[in-house]
C-alpha cells in the first residue's frame, strides 16, 4: 500500500499461557493474543484499545521483547530483531511509571539504568540535557526517585526509556496505559511532551488504553482489541462515525458519554 515499508510489522502473532501443575503435565489456557496482524510506520501513532483481559498488554509486551510469542512474526524495519537489539529500538513504559523506578536510586542513577548492562554511564552534561528534554530541572538529578511527584516520575520514566533507545534511528515507544495513573493536567503535559519528542527523536508510538479518550486525540489509527484479536482498525474519525464491531460501539458510546459529562469539549490535537 505504502511505498515506505512499515517500521513494525506483526504477523499472525499468538501468545498462549500454559499453567504448570503438579498433577497434570500442562493445561493449555485460552490464548491471550490470538492471531494479531498490525503494522506501524515510523513517527506514527497507533492506539490499541480494549477492555482489560483483551490481550492488549500481552501484545505490547511481546512487541517490546519482554515476552516470547507462542507463534507469529514480529519484524522491525523489515528484519527480525535479536532479543538484545529489541530493547534498543522498542521501549515500553509500564502501567505505573512511578513504581517502575527503583525508590532507592537517585534520579541520575535511574536514568542510566538501561546502560548498566553495557557498563556505560552518562556524563554530567548528558544527564542534565536528557532531564531537561523531558522537562526536569538539573537540580533533580541528585534527588531520590521516591522524592519526585507522580508527574516528575512519569517524565523520568520517559527519559529512561529514551536513554535505552538508539539515537538517530526511528524507534518505537509503547505506552502501556502509562498515563492512566496521572491526573488530567499532568496527562495533558505528558501528551504534549510526547508529541514534541516525536519528530526530533523519530518516535513512533503504540498507545495501549482501555478507553478511547486519549486515543481519539492523538492516535493516527485506532485498533480495537477484543478477546485476543483485533476486531476493527480505523482512523479516529471513521471509528467515531461508523463503528462496526459491537465492542467498538460500546467503546464509542462510553467515550461520548464521558465527553458529554465533562464541561470542556473535545479540543485536543488532531490525530497524527
Amino acid at each position: 500500500m505504502h511505498n515506505d515499508p512499515a517500521l513494525l510489522r506483526v504477523e499472525r502473532l499468538t501468545k498462549t499461557y500454559s499453567r504448570r501443575s503438579w498433577l497434570a503435565a500442562r493445561h493449555p489456557e485460552m490464548p491471550a493474543v490470538a492471531g494479531v496482524d498490525l503494522e506501524l510506520r515510523a513517527k506514527h501513532c497507533l492506539a490499541i484499545v480494549g477492555a482489560s483481559g483483551s490481550g492488549k498488554s500481552t501484545l505490547a509486551r511481546c512487541i517490546a521483547g519482554l515476552e516470547q510469542p507462542t507463534s507469529g512474526r514480529i519484524q522491525f524495519a523489515g528484519r527480525e530483531l535479536h532479543a538484545a537489539m529489541i530493547h534498543r529500538r522498542i521501549q515500553l513504559i509500564f502501567q505505573d511509571p512511578g513504581a517502575s523506578l527503583n525508590p532507592r536510586f537517585r534520579v541520575a542513577e535511574a536514568l542510566e539504568e538501561p546502560l548498566v548492562i553495557h557498563g556505560k554511564n552518562f556524563g554530567r552534561e548528558e544527564t542534565v540535557e536528557r532531564l531537561r528534554q523531558v522537562g526536569l530541572a538539573e537540580s533533580m538529578a541528585e534527588r531520590l526517585t521516591s522524592q519526585l511527584s507522580g508527574g516528575q516520575k512519569a517524565r523520568l520514566a520517559l527519559a529512561r526509556a529514551l536513554a535505552a533507545l538508539d539515537q538517530g534511528h526511528p524507534n518505537i515507544l509503547i505506552l502501556d496505559e502509562s498515563l492512566a495513573s496521572l491526573d488530567l493536567s499532568v496527562q495533558a503535559q505528558m501528551v504534549n511532551l510526547l508529541l514534541d519528542l516525536r519528530k526530533p527523536r523519530q518516535l513512533a508510538y503504540i498507545l495501549i488504553a482501555h478507553d478511547l479518550s486519549l486515543a481519539l486525540h492523538w492516535a493516527g489509527e485506532i485498533a480495537v482489541m477484543y478477546q485476543g484479536q483485533i476486531v476493527e482498525r480505523n482512523t479516529p474519525h471513521m471509528l467515531l462515525a461508523d463503528p462496526r464491531h459491537p465492542h467498538t460501539k460500546q467503546l464509542v458510546a462510553a467515550s461520548l458519554e464521558k465527553e458529554s459529562l465533562t464541561t470542556e469539549g473535545g479540543g485536543g490535537r488532531p490525530g497524527v
Binding site: A64, F94, Q95, D96, N102, P103, R104, E113, V116, Q147
Partner: protein, 302 residues
C-alpha cells in the same frame, strides 16, 4: 537527622518500658496469693509473726507505694529485694542474664546465618528441590512446639551420649531449630514479593540480571521487612530461651523466673520480666537502626 531519629526511637523505648513495668505490677498484684501464702497455713507460725514478716517485706503496702519504692530501687540499680534469697534482685539477675544472653546471641547469629542463604536460594530457584525440601522441613519444624523440640534434643543427647546435659550446644540447637522456619519463610517470601515489584521487573526488562540484580535491586528492597524481623527475632529468641533453659538445665533467667513465680517472689518475678522487655525493646531498636542504615528514604526523612 540521625540524632533526632535515634532520640525519637529511644523515647518510644522508655515509654514502652514504663508501660510494661506498670502492667506487670498490676497483673502480679491481681494474681492470687503472695509470698507468705505457705507461712500463713503453717500452724507453727503465730499471727503476730506473719504480720511482722508482712511488715518487713512491705507486702501490705498499696500498689502505687510498692511501684514507687521499686522505681527508687531501680535508680539505685538493685531492682528490689528477693524475699526468698534476701538479696537485691540485681545480684541474682546479672549472672543469669549473661548466661541467657550468651545463648540468645549465639542462636541469633546462627539462625540468621542459616536462614538468609537458605531463603535466598529457595526464592532464587522457586519450586526447585532445595525450595521444596526447605519448605517441607520448615513446615515440620513449625508444627513442633519448642517444648517437644527441647525434649527431643535432650532425649537424643542422652541416648547418643555425644553431649553431656547442660552443654550449651543443646539449647542453642533447639533455639536455632525453633527460630529457623519463620526466618527462612520470611526471607523467601520477602524476596519473592520484591521480585514482583514493578521496579525490579523494569530492571529485568533493561537486561539487568545475576549478582547485580540481587545486590542492587532485590536484596535492598527486601532488606526493610527483614531488618524489622531481625529485631523481632531477638525478642522471640529470648522468650523461647526462658522455656528451653528450664528444660535443658541451663542456668539462665528461665529457671530463676519459674522458681520466682512458684514462690510468688514479687520483685524476682518483675526483674526477668523487665529484662526481657528491655531485650525486646533493644531488639526492635536495633531493627530500626538497621532499617535506617539500609534505606536511604528513611535517612532523607520521607
Amino acid at each position: 537527622m540521625f540524632k533526632r531519629y535515634l532520640l525519637r526511637r529511644l523515647l518510644h523505648a522508655v515509654l514502652l518500658l514504663a508501660g510494661v513495668s506498670v502492667l506487670s505490677f498490676v497483673l502480679l498484684e491481681l494474681a492470687p496469693g503472695d509470698f507468705l501464702g505457705e507461712a500463713r497455713i503453717n500452724p507453727q507460725l503465730s499471727a503476730s509473726t506473719i504480720a511482722a514478716l508482712q511488715e518487713q517485706y512491705g507486702l501490705n503496702q498499696s500498689l502505687p507505694h510498692k511501684y514507687l519504692s521499686w522505681l527508687g530501687s531501680v535508680t539505685k540499680g538493685s531492682f528490689g529485694v528477693s524475699f526468698s534469697y534476701n538479696l537485691p534482685v540485681s545480684t541474682l539477675l546479672w549472672p543469669r542474664a549473661r548466661k541467657t544472653l550468651q545463648l540468645t546471641l549465639a542462636s541469633l547469629f546462627l539462625s540468621w546465618l542459616i536462614a538468609l542463604p537458605l531463603g535466598v536460594l529457595s526464592a532464587g530457584r522457586r519450586g526447585g528441590w532445595l525450595d521444596r525440601g526447605t519448605s517441607l522441613v520448615t513446615s515440620l519444624l513449625l508444627g513442633l512446639p519448642d517444648l517437644v523440640l527441647a525434649c527431643l534434643v535432650l532425649f537424643l543427647a542422652v541416648r547418643t551420649g555425644w553431649f553431656r546435659t547442660g552443654h550449651p550446644i543443646l539449647p542453642i540447637t533447639v533455639l536455632v531449630l525453633a527460630a529457623l522456619p519463620l526466618l527462612v519463610r520470611h526471607v523467601r517470601s520477602a524476596l519473592l514479593d520484591v521480585a514482583q515489584q514493578p521496579h525490579v521487573r523494569a530492571a529485568r526488562a533493561h537486561g539487568i540480571h545475576g549478582m547485580q540484580l540481587w545486590f542492587q535491586w532485590l536484596l535492598p528492597a527486601a532488606a526493610n521487612p527483614l531488618a524489622s524481623l531481625f529485631g523481632l527475632s531477638i525478642a522471640g529468641l529470648i522468650s523461647s530461651s526462658l522455656l528451653v533453659e528450664t528444660i535443658l538445665g541451663w542456668p539462665g533467667l528461665g529457671p530463676l523466673f519459674l522458681e520466682a513465680i512458684a514462690a510468688r517472689d514479687f520483685y524476682l518475678v518483675i526483674g526477668p520480666v523487665m529484662l526481657s522487655a528491655v531485650f525486646l525493646v533493644a531488639g526492635v531498636l536495633i531493627g530500626d537502626l538497621l532499617l535506617y542504615l539500609v534505606d536511604p528514604r528513611i535517612r532523607t526523612g520521607i
